[in-house]
């Protein structure tokens, strides 16, 4: 049997997870609908004044995206863990980190990317300007993969535990605070007319750092959880 290259493994796992997610479209849609509902609840809670809504839009969208990404974390490894696929995956001769990276990317494509695409529509509800909407998309595009990556570590640590869903939020949410600050900050910067570049650069730096460390940490956490 010839050995799969790393790129081959990466694309194979991404394709597999993507197909599995598409077989259960309801799960993917639930996260998206949750995101839409949470964002729509805010105007009902605080009142319909356009000025205030415009001001709080970036924060609301970002917090809702953060919560929505927590919601789907449980699915990242649990199905594979329950049917034993994960153990087989850990036995492959290739690096587990690369395999985990593929799973994270697949998870982002089905849970993070829809949020990025949906966000401008919700932004319109909050009367955001076109320029602010573009920055919001860019920031979410850079930021949501980080949420998936940090979340993957939490999901791997809490694998198979009772009350895993609430626990993973408790572990992961504090670690996501920098993403929230720079992501919402970028949109606020464009609204107030200051430089957007610094926020987006910092977000990009966080993304690169997460890309380097989190697959490895997740692999370590998986080895601790599955023994």
């Amino acid at each position: 049997m010839n050995k799969l290259s790393l790129i081959g493994l990466l694309s194979l796992v991404i394709r597999r997870d993507f197909v599995l997610a598409m077989r259960r479209r309801a799960d993917v849609l639930t996260t998206l609908i949750f995101f839409v509902i949470v964002v729509s609840l805010f105007p009902l809670g605080v009142g319909p004044e356009t000025d205030m809504l415009r001001k709080m839009a970036p924060g609301v969208v970002w917090v809702a995206a953060l919560l929505a990404s927590m919601l789907s974390l449980g699915r990242m490894f649990s199905a594979d863990y329950l049917d034993g696929t994960l153990e087989q995956m850990m036995l492959v001769p290739q690096s587990l980190s690369v395999l985990v990276l593929a799973k994270i990317l697949a998870h982002w494509m089905v849970s993070g990317l829809p949020l990025v695409i949906m966000a401008p529509v919700l932004g319109l509800q909050f009367d955001m300007s076109a320029q602010a909407l573009w920055v919001l998309i860019a920031a979410l595009f850079l930021g949501t993969p980080i949420l998936s990556m940090i979340g993957a570590v939490g999901a791997a640590l809490t694998l198979g535990l009772r009350g895993g869903g609430a626990l993973v939020s408790l572990l992961v949410l504090p670690l996501c605070i920098p993403v929230l600050i720079f992501g919402a900050g970028a949109v606020e910067a464009v609204v107030s007319g200051t430089s957007v570049g610094s926020h987006l650069s910092l977000l990009g730096a966080l993304l690169v750092m997460a890309l380097v460390f989190t697959p490895w940490l997740t692999a370590l956490a998986l080895r601790i959880s599955v023994e």
């Binding site: 570590v153 640590l157 408790l170 572990l171 504090p174 900050g185 910067a189 601790i224």
Partner: protein, 245 residues
């Protein structure tokens, strides 16, 4: 003469050593508490700007500093446990966590009590307050993860990884919160660079030392309990005097 450190990393040896050390640390902590509080409340002069309310700093400052320092110590013990697979290091990490969380909470609580008369608000979204709050969340996450895993070895290693990730994240969180605050507005509240009175300094250092010794005493006491719990089937425990009685 070289000391064999691994001798002390065995729970049975350390249990006895810790038992001998606890009264000393607890006793000196109690003495220093009394001295420090006396200096703080009766000797130190009244502040011109803040009048009597500043005296809460004798508890607030040591609690804040120790809560941050204990997180680092906890993460180092957790890392030791993960790298060398020493049981005692992981036990120390889980023994330190509640004390650290308590001090972080105390620091927030006393800060709120001080903030009300000084700033006119219990809570201000100041960079330092926010990062202290996040530190409390990190402690709670560590404790919650450790508590929800039944197998103690897995609990130790999983929460060790979390503590290490947290300690790497602490500076990132700290600076991001600081930038977030300064981007919105200049810092509204700041300590002006007035130099402290000598007795105030003495009181604060005494209290700092007292809290430090208290933290050591309580953690050693707690690690003794954890050792007893985890090793309850071991031979040496059944031979202990306090167990036989």
């Amino acid at each position: 003469m070289a000391i064999n450190w691994f001798k002390y990393s065995s729970p049975s040896t350390f249990y006895r050593v810790a038992g001998k050390m606890v009264p000393w640390f607890a006793g000196s902590a109690a003495v220093l508490f009394v001295v420090g509080l006396y200096i703080g409340f009766f000797v130190a002069p009244t502040d011109i700007q803040q009048s009597e309310a500043y005296r809460i700093m004798f508890i607030h400052v040591p609690a804040s500093i120790l809560s941050m320092f204990i997180y680092l110590v906890m993460a180092s013990y957790a890392a030791l446990g993960l790298i060398f697979n020493t049981r005692l290091s992981s036990m120390m990490a889980s023994a330190l966590a509640p004390t650290g969380a308590l001090l972080a909470f105390l620091s927030l609580w006393t800060g709120a009590l001080w903030g009300k008369p000084m700033w006119g608000a219990w809570w201000v979204w100041d960079a330092r307050l926010t990062s202290e709050l996040i530190l409390l969340f990190l402690y709670l996450g560590f404790i919650a993860l450790h508590a929800s895993i039944d197998d103690p070895r897995r609990a130790d290693r999983a929460s060790a990884l979390l503590a290490i990730i947290g300690s790497v994240n602490v500076p990132i969180i700290y600076f991001s919160v600081q930038w977030w605050n300064t981007l919105h507005q200049g810092a509204t509240v700041k300590f002006t660079g007035t130099s402290m009175h000598v007795t105030m300094q003495q009181g604060m250092y005494t209290m700092m030392l007292a809290v430090w010794l208290y933290a050591i005493a309580v953690s050693l006491l707690r690690v003794r309990c954890i050792i007893l719990e985890r090793e309850c089937k071991a031979q040496w425990i059944s031979e202990l005097v306090e167990i036989r009685r």
